[in-house]
Amino acid sequence: MLSTLIWLPLVGAILVAVAPATLSKLLGMGVAVATLVVGIVAAFSYQLDDGMQLKETYTWIEAFGVHYALGLDGLGLLMVLLTVTLVPLVLAAEWFAADDAKGGGARAFVAWALALEALSLAVFCATDVFLFYVVFEATLIPAYFLIGGFGREGRGAAAMKFLMFQLAGGLVLLASVIGLYVVSAEQGEPSYLLSDLAALDIGTDAGRWLFIGFFIAFAIKAPLFPLHTWLADTTEKATPGTSVLLVCVLDKIGTFGMLRFCLGIFPEASEWATPVVIVLALISIVYGALVAIGQDDVLRLIGLTSLSHFGFITLGIFALTSQGSSGAVLYMVNHGIGTAALFLIAGYIYHRRGTMLISEMAGLEKATPVLAGLFLVAGLATLGLPGLSPFVSEFLVLVSAFDYAWWAGAIAVTGVVWAAVYVLWMYQRTMTGPTPPDVEGTADLGLRELGAVAPLMVALVLFGFYPAPLLDVANPFTDDLLAHVGVDDDGPDVPPADEANSETEGGH
């Protein structure tokens, strides 16, 4: 099942690459939809409360103790569903964008996008650290060609910067992966299976060093302050569709890795590192939001809001409470949906106006009411408006932050305020106001464009009012994880009611 899920888009990518260019888009869409169907079938055969399932394990490289091992748990399932949903939507939304004569052509775009999808799915399904590392790094190659081949002037440099950051992180991770092998070999036959590694008795010092390697790699990926500088450049130069794949799918690997590997293999070190990580997350939240406010380029702005959001996710993860972890998992899904909508709609604006600069836009609202309306909804989702799905996850994360320390919560809450500023101010400057003459007559969204964002909008509203399906999948995972880490939720600080009454009576 999972192998089908991974190999289908990969084979599809190769097919697209060799098939005639006129068929690329149709073929690519067909493969993406087929992958979506496989993903949904996998979801229906998934049993809640059953841990890792749909497992496949084969020996891959015996000499290194490496297995081709796949499996799905709650976290993996949500990420897989997010990925298989977003790829067809991106292809639909960017149907004509990749035809640009100066870029690499639609065939290359579709092929690389499918390759990226396949490798990302492999990342989310891998239960062997070596396999994870291999596909984790391999995702960068399609991403590199997507950024460098399509988008605006200066994309070559942006792609270079992106790849250098990511590969540097990957090599730091390699050091830790090698370290794991050494530790594993010291305690018997070396193995990279996650289940074997979680059972390892890693010394405190060794565990902390290895944890640092893993964490740095994931902090570059996610990204987290101060390793985020590639993010805004990349989202600015790449096409919005590429940015969706990068920020909404690929970057999730960072927080995914923190949950699965940092907490899963190094529980002691994770607890030890909590203060530093929380501080970095808080800086990311506030700094990302403040810098976003100052941006003039919409795509840059959306990229930087993600820095803020990834700060929230990391905060939730390392608060080490059940609300925090569930909130973080939920946040990963919701951020994927909301930010994807925002990017895609920004892309629609770019195709109409030929610019992404806020200062060069105004008054679009009257010419293109549907576009403006959807942009507003996506923006409001980003700022965490109650009734839209990101609110639920943001709330859970904030609860856990206050639970961790009052100051952490207090700082994180300001992120919500800043989010309102950057979203609403951007909306006001681009959409409202008198309509300039050259904007009049701009076409509103067509059926294809509407169809590409409609599922995202439905999801935002649906999960805003009824997050139970997501929580049902996420909660068993987070319970298992926290049990493994060995933390219990603190009891309520407020004393029970009758005790409080007796105290007040005693005071009379």
């Binding site: 020996t59 891959w60 490289i61 015996e62 000499a63 290194f64 103790g65 590392y133 291999v134 596909v135 984790f136 790094e137 391999a138 960068l140 190659i141 590199y144 060609f145 460098g148 081949g149 994309r155 070559g156 792609a159 270079m160 790849l163 250098m164 590969l167 540097a168 090599l171 730091v172 390699l174 050091a175 090698i178 370290g179 092998y181 050494v182 070999a185 010291e186 018997g188 036959e189 070396p190």
Partner: protein, 531 residues
């Protein structure tokens, strides 16, 4: 008076050596007795025939070598102790012969130069003279390159198989002298080529001197030149320890020169750039394989008990080599020089693997040894290197090969297949997963880490990041840069020889990256050196 006994030779087990040297001599005879214009085909047939027969013999020997008396290794001690045919030897032989065949194919390529080989028409004619022009118009060709190649390969086969210091020195000279000559035979840019040959020769001769001096000191310490004898003496620990350390250091100089490790790497970029690219391709893979084989045998067998002395030394050399290679590669503007410095960096990675030597008892069950890691890395690097240099030969402009980086701009749009393949080889050298380079890198780094040399591994990781930068930059030049208006290179249509070589290297790089298991098992079953 000592009784003279006739030496016994294991003719069967030494067959590959005999075949290759025999073919080389046959090549000389062909040179002597065939008319000039009809030499090429017989030469190619003799060369390829000899190499294929030697490869077949190697495989045949490998299928039924027996476990050696000491239990840990398989094979036998041949030629009265001066040649050792064991698992690693046979693996290296196989590897060298494969790269020899690929090298012959590149040597034989004639379509790229419009019907002429890439070697000088008449090496004795001074560059720029009437004689040179005449040789070119008459379509003369130096077919001596094939016997020279065979002699070099013969030396390379002997080098890692040698069982004593004298055989090793002879092998070193046999492999080096033909290479010096081959480097000076380029058809284009002949002055550069001759300069490279002279430089290589002078420095090489100098390093041979170091090697001999070291051999003398070690003989003075151990009273024996055979590795087994030296090993016994070192374990016994008698004699002047200073003599031994001096000997180890001087021998290391001689061998580190051959692999191009810092601070003896100065010849690498000039020679790689000046030599005909077909020679560079062959040399970059085969010399490295042979020299590392010799280095491994010398240090793992003869100086095993002295590990604590040479491991730190090689660790320092490895760090210097990696840093120097990677950093200097960043500032290169010529593709061949960039690949040369990257070869230096890879030497550093190989040395990183080599210092990960551990006693057999220190390894966990199922854990692989540093020897296996290095052998595997040599395999992966060889294919990527030969493939990359082979592709350099097809990217040309009016002046021959266009090796300037600027000429490669926009190649990805004009010739996506060539640019894609070159990018793939670069990614493999950069160690990106799903290419063979990654598995190799993982293997050598893990050996060093297991042996406790984590600072070296951290440096290796750091230099890998630097190395990634210049590889990726070149990919960016090919795919995402607009073509340079003045003088961009185009891809010339090569014959099947070059295409086949590249295809084999590409296939090997993919297969070793995705399913390295069988080759790793092969390396594993090769076992240890015979001590």
């Amino acid at each position: 008076m000592p009784e003279f006994s006739k030496p016994t030779l294991e003719y069967v087990e030494l067959l590959p050596l005999f075949v290759v040297f025999g073919a080389a001599c046959a090549g000389v005879l062909v040179e002597a007795f065939f008319p000039r214009e009809r030499r090429r085909l017989p030469q190619i047939l003799v060369t390829v025939g000899g190499l294929v027969a030697a490869l077949a013999a190697t495989i045949w020997i490998a299928t039924d070598i027996e476990v050696h008396a000491d239990g840990a290794a398989r094979g036998l001690v041949g030629a009265e102790g001066s040649i050792i045919v064991d698992g690693p030897t046979l693996y290296l032989w196989g590897l060298l012969l494969v790269f020899g065949i690929l090298g012959t194919a590149l040597f034989a390529e004639r379509r790229l130069e419009g019907g002429l080989s890439s070697f000088a028409g008449q090496a004795a004619a001074l560059p720029g003279t009437e004689a040179e022009r005449l040789a070119a118009t008459k379509g003369l060709d130096h077919t001596e390159v094939y016997p020279l190649l065979l002699f070099a390969i013969g030396g390379m086969l002997l080098f890692p198989a040698s069982g004593d210091l004298l055989t090793m020195f002879v092998a070193l000279e046999v492999l080096s002298l033909p290479l010096y000559l081959l480097c000076g035979l380029a058809r284009r840019r002949r002055l550069l080529s001759q300069e490279a040959a002279l430089k290589y020769f002078l420095l090489g001769a100098f390093s041979s001197g170091f090697f001999l001096y070291g051999a003398a000191l070690v003989y003075g310490y151990a009273g024996s030149v055979s590795f087994a004898g030296i090993d016994q003496a070192v374990r016994a620990g008698n004699g002047d320890h200073g003599l031994l350390l001096g000997g180890i250091a001087l021998l290391a100089v001689g061998l580190l020169f051959k692999v191009g490790a810092a601070p003896f790497q100065a010849w690498t970029p000039d020679v790689y750039q000046g030599a005909p690219t077909a020679v560079t391709a062959f040399m970059s893979a085969a010399t490295k394989i042979a020299a590392f084989g010799a280095l491994l045998r010398l240090f793992y067998v003869a100086f095993d008990a002295e590990r604590w002395s040479w491991q730190p030394m090689l660790a320092v050399v490895a760090i210097a080599t990696m840093l120097l290679g990677a950093v200097l590669a960043v500032v290169q503007t010529d593709v061949k020089r960039m690949l040369a410095y990257s070869a230096v960096a890879h030497t550093g990675f190989l040395l990183t693997g080599m210092i990960g030597a551990q006693g057999t008892g220190d390894l966990a069950i199922g854990q692989y040894s540093s020897l296996e890691g290095v052998l595997f890395y040599l395999t992966t690097y060889g294919f990527a290197s030969v493939g990359a240099f082979a592709l350099v030969t097809v990217v040309r402009d009016a002046g021959g090969e266009a090796t300037g980086t600027a000429a490669w701009t926009g190649l990805g749009k004009r010739s996506p297949l060539v640019a894609g393949a070159f990018a793939f080889f670069l990614l493999s050298m950069a160690g990106i997963p799903l290419t063979s380079g990654f598995v190799g890198k993982w293997a050598v780094f893990t050996s060093a880490m297991s042996a406790g040399f984590w600072p070296v591994v951290l440096v290796a990781i750091g230099t890998s990041i630097v190395a990634v930068y210049f590889y990726i930059r070149h990919i960016r030049v090919m795919f995402f840069s607009d073509p340079d208006p003045d003088g961009t290179a185009a891809v010339s249509e090569p014959s099947l020889l070059t295409v086949g070589t590249v295809a084999i290297c590409l296939a090997a790089t993919v297969v070793l990256g995705v399913v390295p298991g069988p080759v790793l098992d092969l390396v594993g079953s090769a076992g240890d050196f015979i001590r």
